[in-house]
Symmetry: C4
Subunit: 473 residues, 4 copies
Amino acid sequence: MIKSKDRLVSAQQVSQHATPNDCWIVVDRQVWDVTDFLEEHPGGSAIILKYAGRDATTAYAEVHSPSVLTRNLSPEKCKGMLDESTVDGTWDTPAAAKDAGKTAIAVVPDASAKPPLHTLISAHDFEEAASRTASKKTWAFYSSAATDLITRDANKACFDRIWFRPRVLRNVRDVDTRTRMLGIDSPLPLFVSPAAMAKMIHPDGECAIARACEAKGVVQGAAPSGKFFFQLYVNRDRSKSAELLRECSANPTIKAIFVTVDAAAPGKREADERVKADESISVPMAPSQARNDKKGGGLGRVMASFIDPGLTWEDMKWVREHTHLPVYLKGVMSADDAILAMEAGLDGILLSNHGGRNLDTSPPSIVVLLELQRRCPQIFGRMEIYVDGGIRRGTDVLKAVCLGATAVGMGRSALFATNYGQEGVEHLIDIIQDELEVAMRNIGITSLNQAHPDLVHTGDIDHLRMEQWGLTP
Amino acid sequence: MIKSKDRLVSAQQVSQHATPNDCWIVVDRQVWDVTDFLEEHPGGSAIILKYAGRDATTAYAEVHSPSVLTRNLSPEKCKGMLDESTVDGTWDTPAAAKDAGKTAIAVVPDASAKPPLHTLISAHDFEEAASRTASKKTWAFYSSAATDLITRDANKACFDRIWFRPRVLRNVRDVDTRTRMLGIDSPLPLFVSPAAMAKMIHPDGECAIARACEAKGVVQGAAPSGKFFFQLYVNRDRSKSAELLRECSANPTIKAIFVTVDAAAPGKREADERVKADESISVPMAPSQARNDKKGGGLGRVMASFIDPGLTWEDMKWVREHTHLPVYLKGVMSADDAILAMEAGLDGILLSNHGGRNLDTSPPSIVVLLELQRRCPQIFGRMEIYVDGGIRRGTDVLKAVCLGATAVGMGRSALFATNYGQEGVEHLIDIIQDELEVAMRNIGITSLNQAHPDLVHTGDIDHLRMEQWGLTP
Amino acid sequence: MIKSKDRLVSAQQVSQHATPNDCWIVVDRQVWDVTDFLEEHPGGSAIILKYAGRDATTAYAEVHSPSVLTRNLSPEKCKGMLDESTVDGTWDTPAAAKDAGKTAIAVVPDASAKPPLHTLISAHDFEEAASRTASKKTWAFYSSAATDLITRDANKACFDRIWFRPRVLRNVRDVDTRTRMLGIDSPLPLFVSPAAMAKMIHPDGECAIARACEAKGVVQGAAPSGKFFFQLYVNRDRSKSAELLRECSANPTIKAIFVTVDAAAPGKREADERVKADESISVPMAPSQARNDKKGGGLGRVMASFIDPGLTWEDMKWVREHTHLPVYLKGVMSADDAILAMEAGLDGILLSNHGGRNLDTSPPSIVVLLELQRRCPQIFGRMEIYVDGGIRRGTDVLKAVCLGATAVGMGRSALFATNYGQEGVEHLIDIIQDELEVAMRNIGITSLNQAHPDLVHTGDIDHLRMEQWGLTP
Amino acid sequence: MIKSKDRLVSAQQVSQHATPNDCWIVVDRQVWDVTDFLEEHPGGSAIILKYAGRDATTAYAEVHSPSVLTRNLSPEKCKGMLDESTVDGTWDTPAAAKDAGKTAIAVVPDASAKPPLHTLISAHDFEEAASRTASKKTWAFYSSAATDLITRDANKACFDRIWFRPRVLRNVRDVDTRTRMLGIDSPLPLFVSPAAMAKMIHPDGECAIARACEAKGVVQGAAPSGKFFFQLYVNRDRSKSAELLRECSANPTIKAIFVTVDAAAPGKREADERVKADESISVPMAPSQARNDKKGGGLGRVMASFIDPGLTWEDMKWVREHTHLPVYLKGVMSADDAILAMEAGLDGILLSNHGGRNLDTSPPSIVVLLELQRRCPQIFGRMEIYVDGGIRRGTDVLKAVCLGATAVGMGRSALFATNYGQEGVEHLIDIIQDELEVAMRNIGITSLNQAHPDLVHTGDIDHLRMEQWGLTP
């Protein structure tokens, strides 16, 4: 039997395999059939399809180490070696340019390439770019939320339904977005929510986020340096969590402990379940690998499996005993639990429905904040209230602050920005900072101290707010 | 004249008839023009189109008795006998694979095949699969509802507009979905609503549903074994209904009698009317066959023709006299009638608008439940309240239970699951059970006893609730 | 110069002109270029396109007198005489069947043919059929309404937002839709609103409507026989109106005078304006022809030009003096004017916004009816209240009657039904009657006397109702 | 090397480059490849594509000076000189007409041509025409608004959600739209808002608007003659603004000073930012050119850069000292600031959110007007209240006047009308005047003095109105 390496393939033969259903590329003279690999490519299929039927050596070298193809593809996918004597002047021309009518890739070749970072001018732009350029699984894992996505979408929509009441003729020459949170200074009332598996979208992954946060002075969840807070998922095995708490308390960069309480059961994230998981991936926190079972290939489900659903208010005392750091609850979704947290003497809460990922039709976080304003405004003087979910704009940040929030978290948007590494996350923070300044000026305030509920009108969502406990009128 | 059986047709000739507008297939060497038959095929056209221009003998034999083609097609549709000497190696290749650009069937060949059961992970998935793979008439009959479909769609939408108020830091390690209904135990607060003509989608029909319910321990309407209740449509000829009641009362598996009161007149289900009925079908309950008349081909209309629209509260006494079983009303759509039922000493009611099939703009069932919470909360202590209509998710089940329902019924979804026989219905029940457990954990309860109205917020649909009798403010 | 009649054209040549942009047909051997005529054809272009490139003699003879083509087309459109020696066996095959890919008409040939009457099972179906088969101008004139169509669409939508509260266990074996209106009996609470220019859609025009109404015993506006009321548009020249009133009063078939008060100025019906009018058309009431001017080609504007915008409550006394018939106001749009009408001693009012044709964002008629229920329920005992606008279903009729209406009018739907002549209008009335009976049974009433406001719930539109005069809270 | 000027190109060769992806044209015998230039062409690509593959000399000469092509295109885009001996009779035929199936430009050739002015019958029509025929940058600059366009769209939508309560039987023979504003007479309660850079859509630019306003007697912002008010953007350098105020005060045609207070920070108009600016354009007010930077190419941002964000109520006294003219505030967005303005003794205010361009989710202007009606109706007797934002119809004008506005401004619509020069703007004013008269007659008033809040019902937007200061109920 002739080994593929000994077989010569002409440039013309390669050219004939230039569609998503039949795609060969040449790398370092080796001719590979990458048809089956297209969907699995972590960087998305589009970048490969740009070189369908052609030589991808240069593009390949910019991104990959030489052995990646060999490791990822089985030997029989190697169709032979390129017969370089057959290469003529048209060999470098993209197939699309030669005959737009013939190959499928001609249809949207540019749509799938990452647009240059400087052309992205909003958080939406980062999301849109990720939807087109991330792999199918990455997009599914990042964007998915519980079942019918009602909470995920309402998180954002409720911000849009709050109206400003801008004041005019205030001197807004100098505007200052700085605030104080977790006992430390922050350049703006924003933190990056802890988010898992950032490496799916960029090789630098969490490091890119951490470096960007450090550069910008922004607080981040669960990072190795800079200012950050630690998001604790209490383990069924308490001793492991105790160990973690001790480590955190000894780490001077950790400013606070956030105990996650909105993940009593992993949500059913259907888009994530529907896309097969790469079972070689190690999932954070869970002492296991990704897996595909009869419920699907959901990474989120695997990650949640170690979390203790038996956590109670009693455990908060246990946490207190294991750390001197301020303790916050992440995942409060009702004014009643907020009041309990205050009464329990906690340092603060993060109103969060986990980005709509755990329980669909959980209330939008901003609605719960509104409930607090109505039912116990004194809570804002007694502890710090954070909010996440649906934040896409500087105006969203400002609305939350007007309604009493100390700061807000961004999760998904930061992941989408990681598509461009550290620089992407920094650019996202700059965008939000700029939008926030514009909004502050336009409602007539120069410092966040001046933000207050009268600067917004919530008449369009007031009916979503629970006025009091109990159905009776 | 040469008889078609004597005419030889080459494989290549057959191949040239491979589109929806010109479709030949080969069965047992006979070449048939099935173009006109495509739309009439009870199993849908897609399955035939998969064999357009090819040999369908094997697939055919799996489903049909040999004479079906002969009985259904007129002789001139037989184009001759396949000349087997012309069959070469490509003969078994689907036309689509050969030249995707040439044949119309290439466009959606897979879209019409039933996806594997394990890839269905929600009730919506079953509906979506049925919409693509059931015959036109089956889909029309199952999915249709009265006139403009407003009630059908509002049934579901109103569940989506109810928000949870999840509580945190409750120990939810062990969650129990069991409940008691109709005096017996049930693994979850769910029953399968009686639904007619399940054989249209699967040869096992009602038996598949019954076996699945028995396997899962779930109550079902009108089944021959297992735990079930009997849905009584009172006949114009009372003696026939009396006979039925006697039989039911003597049958130890029957736990209750549900008297249908929401079908005083058959609704106008336009999608059902628009598709011609197969007049050879026997319609349950009605002592007649399906028929096509000037109103259309509606099966629902025929089925309803024997029901007595003269039923009154007096008749409930008559029912009581003919059975020792608990008696429930199915089809209550106002708090006022619920109160009358309580006052009449009935054992319970099923709030139902018949899936929106009878009167369009009947109120969504969950809204009537809400009215009961507001106008006479004491009713929940006095009799069992069931709800059906629009249930698609475990969260829907939990919302109804929070608002006071003993259990909820699923009708259409069970029919759509029957597409996969018994196994499909079991899978559907597993999905709902799983979603219910996740939702219970995430709102912080471990037993349905802990469900109560404060765990939901209905501010977005409160205006749809009738506060009191009378328009005056 | 050779006259076109002497020129021979082969069948093959004719076949080459078979698209909407280049369309020849043969009638009585004459070959005509009807490309420019397509858009103007009163019967729509589709019927002609079915014969594009072919012989249309038979189809033509069924509809037109021999001279129509000659009169409508200029001589140079005659391309010659068909050379019959060139006609072969394929000549009668529709172009579409020959090569679906080549001619534009193949795409929707059947979509434009009128579906058989018996397949239409709702008022919507008649509208849908008219939208496809009426001429562009007819569709524009019938379907158009003032500016942004907000009122036209809200008329219908507000009915859809009213929910029934059906009652069960009432004996509804025998249901009776009869009522009394204008002092006479009517088989159902429905009348056909006066509507102009019915001949645009069917040669029988108004006669078809009148004969259908007579056959069904239904009251109609402005018809020559049967039971009807007369819709008076008061002329700027009062003597002409006085003359009309005298004639009406002497006519025993006329039961009432409806004075139109909602057309003080002709509305701006943009769809109507945008389509050129055939200036040979005589417009009813207006002593002039249709015309195209700088505002467009609106027929509605021309029709309104003679109406006196100077009408006042004083004039109602003048009307009373000129007739012994009961006098009604057509076009009341506020509870305040309804009360004034009652105080003026009028016999009744028709709540109407002219189908949304005159002033966009006029209130939906059913909302005004609701205002009356709230602000002066006693009015229903003092005079008859009619409603039109947005009635498409028997359920709409029943909702209006529940809220106090004596009967409702259908305008546009009747015009769309006239597409099928007298038979079409009768079929429409049968449909509404049937839908009304089904709805009555399903809400638990057997006579319209039992209809009352408690059987509907208006919570979804209550905020559109003006509670009282004045903005102050 | 042969210079392109020496190369002969046949007419047939030129014809083969007739698509948007490959487009050659001939101007003065020179053959140019304008493919890359299509998108950059300030007049839009459509006009060039009309001559794709053909001779554009005549059309070109009508618009451009001879050197424009040479200046804009690099020499290598010149493909040679047309070989005139190859020009035959079909050379002037548009490619589209020759073979509609072959060239992309055939698809929408007419869609991009300006429709004749007389076919435009509403403000929407002008917008629609501009969206198709203006250059990409012009459309982006004119139509864009801040971030998610929520305020821009709500401005219009809130008008649509206000319902008239028309009164009948009022004598409306003679209707008078005249009013008094800024101490002078106006034929209707409308002014043209100041809008920058009208030359982008028409060479006459601001002059066309000014001449149209003068012809119609309508007040306009910032024009060189006729009745107008001056919109003051206070400069960071107050001496420049003082100078401007002195000039205005000395100019007898200037009737009032409007101090802009809703532009404390330039809004983020993303559509504007996304399209590259032509850096040769001079931007009004700003002492600089358009530029492209890392935020994008937004013209609006550049224009705003000189505005002083330090303006306060104190400065209003300073303005008063520098002019005898009445002083108004433009950009009030809350009842509270309206009251402050009244207390400060200003002559009036313009409720405006700058067309949604500055701060997204600023309240719709009409909602602020409604707040004033509710919270301090006496304000309407003390100063003039103007409104802009979302005005598209005569009915919108009338609604604002009913709710107390003296007059309303149109900005974007006037720019879109400038597409047709002076004549276009006049036509727009005529349309609004006509719509206003129709609306007045149909609600039963003959003079704007009779307009009052009872003629409208705002129940659908009342919840968007801020009842009082403070969130507490």
